[in-house]
């Protein structure tokens, strides 16, 4: 450790000042906009206005609902996939994990765009449904909540699987056989042994998936169209179509509060785990 305080500040301050000037100060001013009244006082009327509008309510609830559903479904699939992956031979495990991570390197625009080919009116799903006689006319899957759900799930599932793989690998090897020998069925093994032992991984993955879904822009923009909005696409529309910067500030504040809440939860779980480690 070097002690020279002036030298340390000279090294660290440019980055801090840059981040403060370009990012922190403008964002704080933007957020405060939603709490100002025309004569310069403070008010929450922008928030009551925002939530009294039924379109805004729909979009807010849809965003929360999609975030929750994507998180739960990715957890269910994530556990199945992570179990399957950790049971593989080390060489195969590396390759399969690589395939799971691969999509994270591909542009989200490209990944989302693929669903237009699959879910569109003349897409693969509709061709298959009509060929099998399930429907006569093409189903409208694109530009719906279902399409956004599928897109978000594909975007964020790798994050959940990766978090659960490391959680399962850190679990004591004999926990599951021990529970089986003592007479637990598979449901009890999962609920009473695996879940508590992998809780941190689940919370980390869940936070990443949930905040990612809440703050998604590309997926609802491409797969939801201009009708099925989420908070970020609503915010974009408020600015670019209506020029309503106060509503945009309100949405920004809601998004930030929700992401921070999720991140604080993440940090809390992480520190709880460190405490356990340092005691052991």
């Amino acid at each position: 450790m070097f002690q020279n305080r002036a030298e340390a500040l000279a090294l660290a301050l440019p980055a801090a000042i840059f981040a403060a000037a370009v990012f922190l100060v403008p964002v704080i001013i933007l957020l405060s906009d939603g709490f100002r009244d025309p004569v310069g006082g403070w008010t929450i009327s922008a928030y009551t206005d925002f939530f009294s509008n039924s379109l805004n309510q729909t979009v807010f609830l849809r965003t929360l609902r999609l975030g929750a559903i994507v998180t739960v479904v990715s957890a269910v699939i994530g556990y199945a996939a992570a179990f399957a992956i950790v049971s593989l031979e080390p060489a195969t495990k590396g390759k399969i994990t690589g395939l799971v991570v691969l999509p994270l390197m591909i542009s989200p625009v490209a990944r989302t765009y693929a669903w237009i080919v699959i879910l569109g009116r003349t897409g693969i799903v509709n061709q298959a449904f009509q060929a099998l006689g399930i429907t006569d006319a093409p189903l409208r899957i694109l530009f719906s909540e279902t399409a956004i759900f599928i897109g978000l799930l594909q975007l964020f599932l790798p994050l959940m699987i990766i978090s659960l793989i490391s959680a399962l690998e850190n679990m004591p090897k004999d926990a599951i056989p021990a529970a089986r020998v003592l007479g637990a069925n598979w449901f009890q093994v999962f609920w009473k042994v695996v879940l508590p032992l992998t809780k941190e991984g689940l919370v980390i993955g869940g936070t990443l998936v949930f905040t990612g879904s809440l703050t998604a822009y590309i997926t609802p923009a491409i797969l939801g169209g201009s009708k099925v909005l989420m908070l970020e696409t609503l915010m974009y529309q408020q600015v670019s179509v209506s020029g309503n910067f106060v509503a945009a500030s309100v949405i920004a504040f809601i998004l930030i509060v929700m992401s921070f809440a999720a991140n604080i939860l993440l940090k809390r779980v992480a520190t709880a785990r460190n405490k356990v480690r340092s005691q052991g």
Binding site: L11, A15, A19, F23, M105, P108, Y113, I118, Y236, N263
Partner: protein, 264 residues
């Protein structure tokens, strides 16, 4: 026990096949669709041709926005490293007053959704100070990459024993000399990894750049979204496939030559 083993030996390949088909399949479809000879985006592709892949290179706006994205990804990441390396060094090697505050400030852009950063920059930097859109995009992408730069460089500094540079200083080297001759060569891999991570993050970023676009000034992914809303031909599929192979190639090369995943 036997029926269990059988169930498990069936369950594992089926689950893995379904999950990987879901994650990778759409990308393969995009690649196939980009070789189509037909005029509209479709799968299975109608015939085989390279016309859409060739067309990507002739669309004027794609060429301009690709250049812009490349400039932002390289320039923004380089600027983030110029700011981030000294800051990481100070955070890991010095008793720094307010170290936690500084760490929080430089890593904050990662927690705040990009669309908010873009809008805040537009309203409170671009408009009041008459900053050009290109400069604003550059500032935004630098701020966006800074947290990654600090995180990855800090991690490789923490893995490097600090007594080597203390020894260099004791033997008469200046602090700066010790940094460039002793520390830098040892964290080169970390810096390159930070550069690649920053490049890919910046290049694929959409929300930060949404509001920061002007006549003829756009990043490539924003331009692709705008294009696909108007034209329904396979050229966006072709471009997506090309970009995907580009970023996969970069990351694979990085993993092979640098052991990228150790740092990220």
């Amino acid at each position: 026990m036997n029926s269990n083993t059988l169930a498990r030996s069936l369950f594992i390949p089926i689950i893995l096949f379904l999950v990987i088909a879901f994650l990778i399949g759409p990308f393969l479809i995009i690649v196939a669709a980009s070789f189509s000879a037909g005029d509209t985006l479709a799968f299975p592709p109608q015939g085989f041709s390279l016309r859409w892949i060739a067309k990507v290179f002739t669309v004027e706006s794609f060429r301009a926005s690709f250049g812009m994205s490349l400039f932002l990804a390289i320039g923004g990441t380089a600027a983030a490293l110029v700011l981030g390396i000294p800051a990481s060094y100070a955070l890991s090697r010095y008793k720094l007053p307010g170290a936690e505050v500084i760490r929080t400030v430089v890593s904050a852009p990662i927690i705040v959704p990009g669309i908010i950063v873009g809008l805040a920059l537009l309203r409170y930097i671009v408009v009041p100070f008459q900053v050009g859109i290109t400069l604003a995009l550059f500032l935004a992408h630098t701020a966006l990459v800074l947290p990654y730069a600090v995180r990855v460089v800090s991690a490789s500094l923490d893995n490097l024993r600090s007594d080597i540079e203390e020894a260099a200083v004791l033997l008469g080297s200046s602090r700066t000399g010790a940094f460039f001759r002793v520390v830098m060569p040892n964290i080169r891999g970390g810096i390159l990894s930070a550069f690649i991570l920053g490049f890919v993050t910046s290049f694929n970023q959409v929300p930060v750049s949404l509001f920061l676009s002007g006549p003829g000034v756009r990043t490539l992914p924003v331009d692709m979204i705008a294009y696909m809303e108007i034209v329904f031909d396979p050229s966006v599929a072709a471009l997506s496939a090309l970009l995907a192979f580009l970023s996969i190639g970069i990351v694979f090369a990085a993993e092979r030559f640098l052991g990228f995943s150790r740092y990220v």
